[in-house]
């Protein structure tokens, strides 16, 4: 039964993974990737790790892939067209890496004998059924592996702060400034109340930036009057 489930889920995972790479429509690739994640969750279940299986679906299939699908839908990415390969040497490297991977797999299979499903050290399986339970994962994370766990969370926090810093505009905006997505062309009269009729063009993405370019930083904003 377990072998049958393993073959079924592993086949599903590999098939979806191949489909993900081969598909030309990015949304189909995303759906295939969701299939991979669900098949992996099933594999975790057969390995007696229900907590990991649930988290796999919640985090990867439920959160990250929703964002990916969201972005694909928002940008309306068209189907990829046939283009001549730009970096030809990548093919050679890919074949080399694939050969190494297959070599490793063959090496492991050779030294494990004929039954790859049996664990190497039978004595280590004593309480294998408890390893995947929620309580033992929690205890492990907050006692033995506390430091790696905390470091990982700090790393994620750094990633969030970094993304915020990269996405933020340079300099602070006044509450009265107008922010328009993308760059725009403003006339001088929209920025300086005293220069009505002056249509000098300034390109910027906010009114504050345009004012800085024109040297009008101290002048009260039109909307403040």
């Amino acid at each position: 039964m377990t072998t049958f489930l393993f073959v079924l889920l592993a086949g599903l995972a590999i098939g979806s993974a191949i489909a993900m790479v081969v598909q030309r429509n990015p949304l189909y690739s995303a759906i295939s990737l969701i299939g991979v994640f669900i098949a992996l969750a099933g594999l975790y279940l057969t390995l007696a790790a229900p907590f990991l299986a649930a988290i796999q679906i919640i985090v990867y299939a439920g959160a990250i892939m929703v964002l990916v699908v969201f972005v694909i839908m928002l940008l309306n990415v068209e189907e990829e067209e046939h283009k001549p390969l730009r970096m030809g040497y990548l093919t050679v490297i890919a074949i080399l890496l694939a050969a190494i991977l297959f070599g490793e797999a063959g090496f492991i299979l050779y030294f494990m004998g004929n039954s790859p499903l049996e664990p190497l050290n039978p004595n280590a399986v004593g309480n294998a059924s408890n390893v995947g339970l929620t309580a033992s994962i929690g205890t492990g994370l907050f006692t033995t592996y506390l430091l790696p766990f905390e470091i990982t969370s700090v790393l994620l926090l750094m990633a969030i702060v970094g993304a915020m810093t990269l996405a933020r505009r340079v300099g602070l905006l006044r509450p009265t400034d107008l922010v328009v997505p993308g760059s725009q062309v403003l006339t001088r009269q929209t920025l300086d109340p005293k220069a009505i009729g002056d249509a000098t063009e300034v390109e910027s993405s906010t009114t504050a930036e345009a004012a800085r370019v024109l040297g009008l930083e101290g002048v009260p904003h039109r909307r403040e009057e």
Partner: protein, 354 residues
């Protein structure tokens, strides 16, 4: 496979089927109840012609859905277009199996039976996982219809579900912290007799051991985010009729539309079941110990109360604007949910010390 295994598997299948039939019947009549109650609120009569007081209306609706012409847009992405309703309905129905409908009961021939189809270590996480898959039904339906209104509806749905899933998950953490378990059945069992309220002389004090009295803030946060998760008024922006025709299901007709419609109501039912299980004591209530079958009625009664609440809200509240929805979710609900977790953990730790 000996005889015992076969009977137990058969019993499980039977139980799952009974649960599905009961839930689907209640869902069908929720639609009728919604139309009648809304009519009552708005001073109309509502559908009352099919059968006595409209009692056969759900079946008439179903027949009409079956016999309607099926229209597929010419430029729709066919495969995804047909896949989306199935993801929606499967994601909605799959969670029913883990809810405990009642305590252990003695049946005449079979013996002691636990009224839950599947009980396992992480059933709460299972519910959250399946619910998070359900959003693909709506998002893909909006994308594949090749219609701007549908796409807007799908985008709104995915943005809204991502935003409110966080506060929904965090509002449940308080209950999990207190009960120390992710198994729904044991969470319900812990609400039977907390601080001796289940065994006092006055049996009507039993409700005081429910989780809602320990987690009032968590309950309110859960209720709000659950309404947002099911795309119901006042959070029904993915299908806002005034702006988007019908949102993500604009291009769906006949049975495929019926599947979306059913998925929405089954989702309402399952989030109500989760609220009942986690906060309102599940099947617990006075006299359940003497009459175990009473538990099923308590459970369904509490769920039906939540369904009534949904309809009531729909009759009284206007729709949010999208920026209001996002601001409310991220700037108010999420911080309050985090505060609830911190508060619960602190109080729990302090009471453990003394």
């Amino acid at each position: 496979m000996d005889w015992n295994t076969i009977t137990s598997v058969g019993l499980k299948l039977l139980g799952i089927n009974i649960a599905f039939v009961v839930v689907l019947m209640i869902v069908a009549y929720t639609v009728l109840a919604e139309r009648r109650v809304l009519a009552l609120i708005q001073g109309r009569l509502g559908p009352n012609r099919v059968g006595y007081g409209g009692i056969l209306q759900p079946f008439a609706d179903l027949l009409k859905f079956i016999f309607k012409e099926e229209i597929v847009p010419d430029k729709a992405t066919k495969f995804v277009y047909f896949l989306a309703p199935f993801i929606a309905i499967v994601g909605a129905l799959m969670t029913i199996i883990v809810y405990p409908f009642g305590p252990d009961v003695n049946l005449p021939v079979i013996g002691a039976v636990r009224l839950v189809a599947a009980q396992f270590d992480v059933s709460l996480l299972y519910v959250l996982a399946i619910t998070s898959i359900g959003v693909y039904g709506i998002a893909l339906a909006g994308w594949s219809s090749n219609n701007k209104y549908s796409l807007m509806g799908g985008l709104r749905a995915s943005a809204q579900l991502i935003s409110y899933e966080l506060s929904l998950g965090l509002s449940l953490v308080g209950v999990v912290l207190l009960s120390g378990s992710l198994d729904l059945f044991s969470i319900v069992e812990q609400q039977t007799n907390r601080w001796g309220f289940g065994t006092t002389a006055n049996i009507f004090l039993q409700p005081l051991s429910w989780n809602i009295f320990l987690q009032p803030l968590g309950f309110i946060i859960y209720l709000i985010s659950a309404i947002a998760e099911t795309n119901r008024v006042p959070f029904d922006l993915p299908e806002a009729e005034t702006e988007l025709v019908a949102g993500f299901h604009t291009e769906y007709s006949a049975l495929k539309f019926a599947l979306f419609f059913m998925a929405e109501y089954v989702n309402m039912f399952t989030v109500s079941m989760l609220a009942t299980t986690l906060f309102l004591g599940g099947w617990n209530g006075p006299f359940v110990e003497q009459l175990p079958f009473l538990g099923v009625f308590y459970f369904l009664g509490k769920v039906i109360f939540f369904l009534f609440l949904y309809i009531w809200l729909r009759g009284t509240l206007p729709r949010f604007r999208f920026d209001q929805l996002m601001n409310f979710g991220w700037k108010f609900l999420l911080p309050v949910a985090i505060l609830n977790v911190v508060l619960t953990a602190t109080v729990y730790f302090v009471t453990m010390l003394f």
